[in-house]
């Protein structure tokens, strides 16, 4: 039985919350009482539980199987983190309580900051950004502020970004009024210092690089690139989406990075939750630290305070209400303390080891421009091996669904034709890795054998067969509307 929408089986005169409405009192709503109907159905608690439990069963999740989405880092989410985040001392404190009543919260933020700064080899961290892209924004704002402070706001308006960059990089730069200049990668998938040198000039504000990059490769020449960038008077923004490959192994600060956001949900396992919330603290070099957004922590001897007032600071300002994603800080610190310095390094090692294991086990049946190179935490294949098979990368991905595995990231990065980016993470056991290899090999042989229908009609065994995304975009239906001229269907 299909699970209808709440608007189809809820009732507006019913509530699943028992409330005793107040008796007589004089309202003070200034004549603005609601006149228009709300149209919001209510569910009894049994109906509500069943509705959402049934819906959840249509989702794939890291708890139900391997989720090798490259660049998304679907790793294990420890339940301890959820428990810690729900301690009333963290979950039930108001952001504007007097600081004397939230000393533990400030300490937690300071502890997390210490870990992030130490692991990255940087000077400071801005905790407020609410997600990775928000972190990019923060880092680039700090760069813009630093350039302005140098009096070069009018001249340095170019940001360099490689073609393989996440879409957020150019979007961020553009939204801050920068012009994006694209840099091609070399055939080995890496950015070459010469290319960067050629693109640099007095008009360049910054370079935005991802390292390890979106092809899953460590930018070998990154120290040299950083040197060139700094020499040209520009800043080096590093997209930290892939920091999870090198935590405890390499410090971005040692590579010359001026600013880098850290996706706490990727690297430190705060859950993805079907698309958020994230958290994107940004570490900053000493050159950028003074420009960090408010609020920030200041330590006076033993006492921590929160600087919320921009006056008397060089801060570029406020990026969001309050002080950042506290709930995510707790989870991330719980993860960090659980691993310790030793465990974090081992997690990176295992992530890289697992990706290379997949590379080695699959390279004879799938093609990759970098098949013989060591990769970092994710391995990239292309669709050359599927050429003329009648099977597309999308078909291949959908056929994986029928095998009970979430597809890898497809068609990203754009620098490779028909990209398939696989990130197993450190959370998969040897048994699951082997199962994954066996499944992909089986599918690959199936492609080669011309069993086209296995792919073009896939998925056959999912809660839905292939969905029509074109019509969805052409005639968007974004909210529920009751069928005209009749009672709403009562589906169970």
């Amino acid at each position: 039985h299909e699970t209808g929408l709440i608007f189809e089986h809820g009732r507006e005169d019913f509530s699943g919350v028992d409330i005793d409405p107040p008796q007589d009192f004089k309202p003070r709503l200034g004549g603005l009482e609601r006149q228009s109907p709300l149209g919001l159905p209510g569910l009894s608690e049994p109906e509500c539980l069943r509705h959402y439990v049934r819906l959840s069963k249509q989702n794939y999740a890291i708890d139900t199987g391997l989720y090798p989405l490259g660049s998304c880092t679907m790793k294990h989410n420890p339940r301890l983190n959820e428990k810690m985040a729900r301690l009333p001392g963290f979950a039930d404190i108001h952001p504007l309580q007097p600081l004397s009543t939230v000393r533990g919260a400030l300490e937690l933020m300071a502890d997390l900051s210490h870990w992030l700064v130490t692991l990255t080899g940087t000077e400071a961290v801005a905790l407020t950004p609410k997600a990775g892209a928000h972190g990019e924004m923060c880092g680039m704002m700090a760069i813009k502020a630093a350039i302005a402070a140098r009096g070069e706001a009018a001249t340095r308006k170019i940001v360099l970004a490689p073609e393989s960059a996440h879409g957020t990089n150019p979007a961020t730069a553009a939204s801050l009024g920068f012009t994006v200049r694209s840099i091609p990668a070399g055939e080995n998938g890496l950015v070459h210092p010469e290319t960067v040198a050629a693109a640099l000039g007095p008009d360049v504000a910054a370079i935005m690089l991802t390292n390890p990059n979106t092809c899953g490769l460590f930018e070998r020449d990154i120290v040299e690139i950083a040197r060139l960038v700094h020499e040209a008077g520009a800043y080096f923004y590093c997209d930290g989406a892939n920091f999870n490959a090198i935590v405890g192994k390499v410090r971005p600060g040692d590579l010359g990075v001026d600013a880098m956001h850290i996706n706490l949900h990727k690297t430190f396992s705060t859950p993805h939750g079907g698309g958020g919330p994230g958290a994107g603290p940004v570490v900053l070099s000493s050159r950028l630290a003074p420009f960090a957004p408010i609020p920030f922590l200041r330590r006076d001897g033993d006492k921590l305070t929160l600087v919320e007032d921009k006056e008397d600071t060089q801060s570029f300002g406020r990026m969001a209400a309050f002080h950042g994603q506290m709930g995510m800080f707790v989870r991330a610190l719980s993860y960090i303390l659980s691993h310790g310095g030793d465990g974090l390094a081992m997690a990176s090692e295992n992530a890289v080891l697992s990706a290379n294991y997949l590379r080695v086990c699959l390279k004879d049946v799938m093609s990759s421009p970098f098949a013989e190179r060591l990769c970092m935490h994710e391995v990239l294949f292309d669709d050359a091996w599927m050429k003329d098979s009648g099977v597309t990368v999308l078909d291949f991905a959908k056929a994986m669904i029928d095998e009970g595995i979430h597809p890898m990231t497809v068609y990203f990065p754009l620098v490779v034709h028909g990209a398939m980016l696989i990130e197993p993470t450190e959370s998969e056991s040897a048994a699951f890795l082997d199962m994954f290899v066996a499944t992909l090999r089986d599918l690959a042989f199936s492609v080669k054998n011309g069993e086209v229908e296995r792919f073009t009609g896939a998925p056959y065994y999912a809660p839905r067969t292939r969905l029509d995304e074109t019509t969805a975009a052409r005639k968007p239906v974004l909210t529920y509307k009751a069928p005209v001229g009749g009672r709403e269907p009562k589906e169970a």
């Binding site: 699943g16 509500c48 108001h94 939204s175 303390l337 998925p459 067969t465 969905l467």
Partner: protein, 447 residues
Amino acid sequence: MRYLPLSPTEREDMLTRMGLAEIDDLFADAADKLLKAPLDLPRHKSELEVERALGALAAKNLAAGAVPFFLGAGAYKHHVPASVDHLIQRSEFLTSYTPYQPEISQGTLQVLFEFQTQVARLTGMDVANASMYDGSTAAAEAVLMAHRVTRRRNALLSGGLHPHYAETARTLSEMANDDIRILPPDPLAQEDLIAQLDDSLSCVVVQSPDVYGHLRDLRPLADACRAKGVLLVAVVTEILSLGLIESPGAQGADIVVAEGQSIGNGLNFGGPYLGLFATREKYVRQMPGRLCGQTLDSQGRRGFVLTLSTREQHIRREKATSNICTNSGLCALAFSIHLSLLGEKGLRELALVNHANAVALAEAIETIPGVKLLNQSFFNEFCVELPGPAAEFVERAAARNLLAGVPASRLSPRAGLDNLLLVASSELNTDADRATLVAALREEAAR
């Protein structure tokens, strides 16, 4: 390590299979910067040790639920049914990713579709997105959207707007070289926005209930905006108020942004929260953020997909409507579940209880000589003028386990609002809580 399934033997076996001698061989490309020695950081801890370490930190904070509590100013504590937290911890919701493969993500997608519908109906708008980071960033995005729609780059922000929201919008505007004008704090709701309209403006941003609790009638402003081609952006920081107050949409707003935290989500020291964003149908392609749309599968069954992603950064890159690529999915789920339990009836009743409790508190405060209520109208929060600095009163109260409210100076440090206190009341306040606050205020007035 309990979280890392590969045993030492398995690591060895895998390395051998690759022809590598040791694990650091995998990091050959980074060889010259590879850390030679472990960083000076503690070793891994057992669950018990982590619980003790974090528990000790948590114990240093005064939890709102442990004391009489009257804080609001953009973050509200309400009772959340136990089933909400249970459901959002379902593995399939908690540990899934953005629903890029819709065939195996219908759970998340249907929830988002229902969420969008709930938000649209609540705000009185045609469409809503699948959520944003929080209310403040949603407000900043609304300004950018208004620029895109009107092709103007000049925004006017009311003095009743939450100062954090105004600052957030200002940072983004300044960085993007747009113009923005923020009116001075307006604790008596006396500003005349209509008089300041002109056709260079892309939008006016106004909050109701405003940060001082006053309800603002948006209708005359909406008419005036329409006449000048200016978009009206309405901000709501206490979304529960819409159970009782006319929706911004019905009052003529073009874009409604709100903080959705107070339904289904806890205080969490300020985050993660839930940005709500709704607008008129005609502007949908200028909207930021993720959208879920209805469609059919190849067998003709109804299904849901992420849609209109051509607006988004992963397709449009530097031409995207915004750089955002995350929503606040789990918070949106909590919101949607709580709201589906409440329904229209429950939401109205809960809002009514909040208002009634606030009225009871206001009436009691009005009897205190030396303390002045500034509001004619309010929902569940209002502004009180004390005889001395509110921040000091709040500190003294906290020392006695009373969380009395938010000093206006905390939000607007240099605005001469030192004696103003923002006080919120909810269904959680008992008669005893109210009596405690009133007694403390009476004592303060008598100091």
